[in-house]
């Protein structure tokens, strides 16, 4: 066993005891990452920077000034702007873009001493559930060649599952942390909207985007979320709410808690395996002393269509800035081409098909005459979905247990021909983004074909600590320890 397989918790303890140095840990991760080309998880390696940061971390560790993340090598999703390091959101339109600023999340992580190994693959502009919509080509699921690690944080999930890093950053607009975590046997939490700053994260859908950690354990998620979270005056949607000690909240005691099982999540097209897993998960929580109750979230079926109106609408506007004028790619122009030609050629060449599709859908639903029928109606649906959850929590439910995905990881190319089928993958996850709630995906078992399966726990706003504690209990009860066999 080499140190790259460690959790944050284990690495932190070893680093603090000086059983290992940050440089050694970083070198192990760099070696693993460097030998992972077949996974296509990393799109940009930063070994020099990593070693420099590791040395600085060792100095801090030696001086006794060592926050939990100090010396922990991380992969950073390409959606985060990292100063002096290419940050392209896996899009050709940002070819060559190297920001002169550092996102708030990475700033906080690096301030705590975390080490950046490089940038991770993803669906272009975080649009997708299979990492196939990437200018760099798809990341591959380490559990089996040819399978998707999910998306959009597919590179993050693959890198964590394959031990190419100790943990990774992800972002979640409609399930982009939780679904890939479930597909790869890792843990991912989408915090409450406003918990983590969006400043410096390339925007997909501003009212839904939220960054979070992707880790090997619930405790790691608690540690890393603590380092990422907090109010940021540079993000007007960031909440000025104190960040509790998430790790300290992992008591393992959920006795007397009430867990809701939403009946509307039991839907057609869900695999039997997932259904069985869900029941088992409920039993585990009950065995740990929680009460299981059936609840109703009646507007669930409208969530997916509402999401696929709101997210593209915001995206169509957020992506208007990629016009070839100031940075990134500009298409080669013909003599006599005007500004409109420049826009059209640049955007046609620079954006992939799925991005173009969502930009067009978004422009359509916002256009005069359709705004009320689509965008405004979707906003109303969103308010109803939020109310469904509020009602459930008002009835005394502490957390909600649901599947994370309808199926285990699927083959690359299987759903790429049919966008609607691909969108259906998000059916269990988008509701939380619409309602702004925190949700965590925890690996609970293996499918008959040996692939990881995850369950999702949904918490109350700003109650990530309690939510993580539930996830911790589920993790312990499930005892999921399987790892992918190295084939890459």
């Amino acid at each position: 066993m080499t140190s790259n397989t460690l959790t944050i918790e284990a690495a932190r303890n070893a680093l603090r005891k000086r059983e290992i140095t940050a440089v050694e840990l970083t070198e192990a991760c760099l070696a693993a990452a460097g030998a992972s080309a077949k996974l296509n998880a990393f799109v940009h390696h930063t070994p020099d920077l990593a070693l420099e940061m590791a040395k600085a971390a060792d100095a801090r560790l030696a001086s006794g000034d060592a926050p939990s993340m100090c010396g922990i090598p991380l992969g950073i999703k390409d959606l985060f702007c990292t100063r002096g390091v290419p940050s392209q959101a896996a899009s050709n339109i940002l070819s060559g873009f190297t920001p002169e600023y550092e996102s708030t999340v990475t700033t906080k992580l690096f301030a705590d001493g975390a080490v950046m190994l490089g940038k991770l693959n993803m669906d272009e502009f975080a649009m997708g559930s299979s990492n196939e919509n990437s200018a760099y080509g798809p990341a591959i699921n380490p559990w089996r060649d040819g399978l998707t690690p999910g998306g959009s944080s597919g590179g993050s999930a693959a890198a964590v599952a394959a031990d190419l890093c100790i943990a990774a950053t992800g972002t979640d607009t409609g399930g982009s942390i939780r679904q890939p975590a479930a597909f790869t046997g890792t843990v991912g939490i989408k915090p409450t909207y406003g918990r983590v700053s969006r400043w410096g994260v390339v925007a997909y859908a501003s009212s839904l985007d939220q960054a979070g950690p992707m880790t090997k354990s619930v405790r790691d998620a608690a540690i890393m979320l603590g380092a990422m979270a907090g109010h940021d005056a540079k993000d007007s949607t960031s909440a000025d709410i104190a960040v509790p000690d998430f790790e300290a909240a992992l008591t393992g005691d959920i006795r007397g808690k009430k867990i809701g099982i939403p009946r509307e999540y039991r839907m057609d097209g869900m695999s039997d395996e997932i259904d069985v897993l869900w029941r088992r998960g409920a039993e585990m929580l009950r065995d740990a002393g929680a009460t299981i109750v059936d609840i109703s979230l009646p507007h669930t079926k409208y969530a997916l269509p509402a999401y696929y109106v709101i997210a593209p609408a915001e995206a169509s506007s957020n992506l208007a800035r990629y016009d070839g004028v100031r940075y990134g790619m500009r298409a080669t122009l013909d003599a006599g081409d005007g500004i409109t030609d420049m826009y059209e050629k640049t955007r046609a060449k620079g954006f992939g098909k799925e991005v173009q599709r969502r930009v067009m859908v978004g422009a359509y639903v916002l256009s005069a005459g359709f705004y009320d029928a689509y965008y405004n109606r979707a906003r109303k649906v969103r308010a109803l979905i939020k109310r469904d959850f509020e009602n459930a929590f008002a009835d005394g439910v502490d957390a909600i247990l649901a599947p994370a995905t309808p199926t285990p990881a699927f083959e690359i190319g299987k759903k790429s021909g049919n966008p609607v089928e691909a969108y259906l993958n998000d059916v269990f996850t988008v509701t939380l983004n619409l309602a702004g709630l925190p949700g965590v995906s925890v690996p609970v078992g293996l499918s008959a074909s040996g692939l990881p399966l995850g369950l999702q726990l949904i918490g109350q706003p700003w109650q990530e600590a309690e939510l993580l504690n539930h996830a911790y209990v589920l993790e312990k009860s499930a005892g999921f320890v399987a790892k992918p066999a190295k084939w890459w």
Partner: protein, 503 residues
């Protein structure tokens, strides 16, 4: 306070070939908010800097950058709303107006379509003594200014300067209550005056920090009154919007041209197409920019990067408590306290600095005389030299000193003008300058009497004429003053001459 009883001005009537037409005008004024920093970034708003030197990452829409509201700009908008007696909306929100243009880096302008910060207000536009138009304000919203495209630097390329990108603008939208080109110009003038009093906009039209979009339509006499009674726009003609004007003269010329163009179309049996037009001052005409069909679909929607803006009534009250005296109130006070004419009060309140200067001069002195001196001598001289009031070489205290010498009878009006000239060029305390130069009029009756007697004795023919026609007595007064080297007090001379001539 100002007497609020006034008559409405007559609407401008344009005689067509067939019959008379009236104009109906509504305006959207884009006023740059006076603020050191932009609406959503800390970048400077300074004018005339090196291109692209006042640009924050968010201004040029770098990936992942987010807007943060500049509280001072909100305060300025609220102050403006209060100054226009408008409703302040404690909850407002920002929306995105989406369109592509190189000087709009985000691909959208952040504006306030659905929930503006300021609601209905009003502006009293005086067109003469006792004649004024009350123009209703529909709303004021905050929005970002765009950058500047430069097309004439290179034959193959265009350039963009983002210094202006993201600077805060207030769009002040009026109801269609303006009834002629002169009223339109007077409305802009009045609005500009109020904004400058408030300190919320510099109103420098040449630099483009006050620009007007003008909506013009024409209708038959009587139609406007029907609109007013019902607020039903169908009584009015189809309007055209003339974009982006930054001169009072062009505003008037463009409205006049546009009204006549529409009248010609209508009298030819055609119909006016609703469209956006541009005014070309070189050819004095408006040209179609885009038709209603070609109008952009801006796909407005609430900006998800910004939470709705909520302000407290107490905060608004705090701003209200610091409001300066506004032009209407100041004018009324000047007329009441200093006995000024309507005209003089208008002139003296046009600019805040000038009003302050006048008030310092007038305080404890004859207000009318102070007004005459400030308007005629001081403003006349400043205009001649092309100087602003702040750069006046004569201070209010110095001018007041000159008036004091005159009031005490120590110098004549003629001497006062000479003294003004000396103090203007050389400075100094007026009393000391007058003393040093022996500028003191003679009021000693004995000395003057001798001079009067001498001149009467020497001019018997003139004496006869003056007795027949008393107006000619002035000749003797002039001769006496001349004989005393200009030092004889005119009032004394006048009295003596009249007595000696038996008039």
């Amino acid at each position: 306070m100002l007497d609020l009883t006034f008559e409405n001005p007559k609407p401008k009537v344009i005689a067509g070939a067939l019959h008379d037409w009236e104009l109906v005008i509504g305006m959207e004024i884009h006023a740059q908010v006076s603020s050191n920093a932009k609406l959503f970034s800390g970048a400077s708003t300074g004018f005339g800097a090196e291109p692209n030197s006042h640009v924050a990452f968010v201004d040029c829409a770098m990936p992942g950058m987010l807007p943060v509201i500049n509280e001072f700009c909100i305060e300025q908008a609220v102050r403006t709303g209060l100054g226009l007696k408008a409703a302040i909306n404690l909850r407002s929100a920002f929306d995105r107006k989406n369109y592509f243009y190189p000087d709009l880096p985000q691909g959208y302008q952040i504006s306030q379509l659905y929930h503006p910060i300021v609601g209905e207000g009003e502006v009293l536009v005086e067109m003469g003594p006792g004649v004024a138009r009350l123009v209703r304000i529909e709303r004021i919203h905050l929005e970002q200014d765009a950058g500047k495209s430069i097309h004439d630097m290179d034959p193959n390329s265009s350039f963009v300067d983002f210094n202006r990108t993201g600077v805060a603008l207030m769009e002040i939208v009026s109801r269609p209550d303006i009834r002629g080109p002169e009223e339109a110009a007077a409305y802009v003038t009045k609005l500009r005056q109020i904004l400058r009093y408030l300190g919320t906009c510099d109103g420098n039209m040449q630099n483009g920090n006050l620009r007007a979009d003008v909506n013009v339509s024409v209708c038959r006499p009587g139609q406007y009154e029907r609109y007013q009674a019902t607020q039903d726009f169908s009584h009015l003609g189809t309007r055209c919007e003339i974009k982006n004007m930054n001169s009072m003269r062009f505003i008037q010329a463009a409205i006049d041209y546009e009204a006549r163009r529409q009248i010609a179309i209508l009298e030819d049996g055609g119909s006016v197409a609703q469209e956006t037009r541009l005014y070309d001052p070189d050819r004095n005409e408006t040209r179609s920019m885009r038709s209603k069909e070609e109008a952009h679909d801006y796909r407005y929607f609430p900006d998800p990067d910004l939470l709705p803006l909520e302000i407290e009534q107490a905060w608004v009250d705090g701003i209200a408590a610091t409001m300066p005296e506004l032009p209407d109130a100041k004018k009324a006070r000047f007329m009441g306290d200093f006995g000024l004419t309507d005209y003089d009060a208008n002139v003296l309140t046009a600019e805040l600095d000038a009003a302050g200067f006048f008030e310092e001069v007038a305080k404890g002195r004859d207000g009318k005389q102070a007004a005459n001196w400030v308007i005629n001598e001081l403003f006349g001289r400043l205009n001649k030299e092309g100087l602003a009031i702040e750069a006046s070489p004569i201070s209010a205290a110095q001018l007041g000193g000159i008036l004091d010498l005159m009031a005490k009878g120590e110098i004549s009006g003629k001497m006062a003008k000479d003294l003004f000239e000396i103090v203007w060029t050389e400075g100094g305390d007026p009393a000391e300058v007058a003393a040093a130069r022996g500028m003191k009029q003679v009021t000693d009756t004995g000395a003057i009497e001798a001079a009067v007697d001498e001149i009467i004795a020497a001019n018997p023919a003139q004496v006869e004429k003056a007795k027949a026609n008393p107006k000619l007595a002035g000749w003797f007064v002039g001769q006496v003053i001349k004989a005393t080297g200009g030092k004889a007090a005119p009032a004394t001379v006048n009295e003596l001459v009249n007595r000696k001539l038996g008039l």
